[in-house]
Symmetry: none
Subunit: 260 residues, 2 copies
């Protein structure tokens, strides 16, 4: 797992609603230290750093968790460790259990999208929200689910459902981040682009039109006006940068310098 993966962003995130605590992700009876470390990394990718552990199988602290967490070690350092689930949830206002729809327990079922929207709203009111994740092999037991207010189920392919613990944590963290990090790179990118001015695009269009006229491109005569209109329309549609415009001028100039 490289420190710099293929997907990262340089823009600062904004948090407009930092009233209450972040959601707390509770790993219930996790088995592998590596998965605890991976969960810490997945969380921190989206700015979540409140983790609680209930009865981790191999005790705590866990060196494999630390090794896997790498740069996200501070999530583990701060993690609360509890003997049982009621202790871990004692101060929580609202609890979600991530699980398949239970056939035995009737509980409201939420998508990650809806649940994180609710969590955001509760946070704004100063409430503490917890999200439970079950052990790797079997997931949460009914006993665990019975302590939650609602269920979160990821809508996956019914013919192939294989999300593991780290992936479930990642998707929940992503949903939290997607809704709360107001990074709109396309709009920022648009705002920062050094577009050519109208007058520069006009000059480029004229340059091409004159040169193409000279080489007989607008032919036959009866279609010339229409061809010029289509070409002029294209130049403005392309959203050229100032650098693009210079490049197009340069290309045309060089061709005519060499051949003309």
């Amino acid at each position: 797992m490289p420190p710099n993966g293929p997907a990262r962003i340089t823009q600062p995130m904004t948090h407009e609603d930092e009233t209450g605590p972040q959601p707390t992700l509770v790993l219930v009876r996790p088995q592998m230290g590596e998965n605890i470390g991976a969960a810490a990394r997945a969380m921190l990718n989206f700015g979540l750093d409140r983790m609680r552990l209930v009865a981790p199988r191999d005790g705590w602290p866990n060196q494999k968790a630390v090794a896997m967490a790498s740069g996200a070690g501070r999530v583990l350092d701060r993690a609360g460790v509890y003997d049982d689930l009621p202790a871990a949830l004692a101060d929580c206002d609202y609890v979600y259990a991530t699980t398949a729809r239970s056939r035995e327990l009737s509980k409201p079922v939420r998508t990650p999208e809806r649940a994180m929207a609710e969590a955001r709203a509760m946070r704004a009111e100063g409430k503490r929200v917890a999200i439970l994740f079950g052990p790797e092999r079997a997931g949460l037991e009914n006993e665990d689910v019975s302590r939650a207010n609602a269920i979160i189920t990821v809508p996956v392919n019914p013919d192939f459902a294989s999300l593991n613990l780290g992936q479930s944590v990642l998707l929940m963290a992503y949903e939290w981040g997607r809704q709360s990090l107001h990074a709109e790179p396309e709009i920022m990118g648009l705002a920062r682009t050094d577009f050519a001015t109208q007058v520069e695009v006009e000059a480029l269009a004229n340059h091409f039109e004159e040169r193409l006229d000279a080489v007989g491109y607008f032919f036959p005569e009866t279609k010339a006006a229409g061809m010029k209109l289509v070409l002029r329309n294209m130049w403005t549609r392309l959203a050229l940068t100032r650098a693009d415009v210079q490049m197009f001028h340069g290309m045309l100039r060089q061709i005519f310098r060499k051949l003309g």
Copy 2:
């Protein structure tokens, strides 16, 4: 990785807009077979099964990929394998590159959310969309990104960004699955545009590059490679229609016919 993780659902997914092909996920020069298998699983969780591989490091087929894919083996069975990226993208109408914002190449940047909304709308119009993922260590190179129409960047914590290949694929597949059909008019406009295919844009880029080479445009020699990259990147960024491409070919051909 257990076959039944903690998060699954019993509800069938609905596909209301199955007009065109699914998005194709293209793994560019992937290194570890395990990661190819994990990507296949992540995709199939959300119903995606079109994978292409460009020059996988350890050749193909790959037993480690098969072992990791487990129940998602059919994604690998169907995967197309290509020697280079242009071959893999030849029939694609619109290409996204997953990467951090490039400081060198200017391209529109999209969130996964926005990109998948666009992809859904383009699919409804029968278009083939590809999403590129780079190799594990270094991600996509500028050369690869220059062949994409737009960039997808996951908005992550700027102080801790550690998404690996499998996680990036998972998040993109999740976004695909998450979204409903309420495409915005602006996005529908994008979907209806008759964009030139990748192979057509590639041919145009080659045509200009050859002609400009012949007239000594790429000067001095030390800057030639960089100038070519910038130019190639521009062609894909402009989102040229099929008609634009024909017009550019025609302009250049006529100039050389007359002067050459």
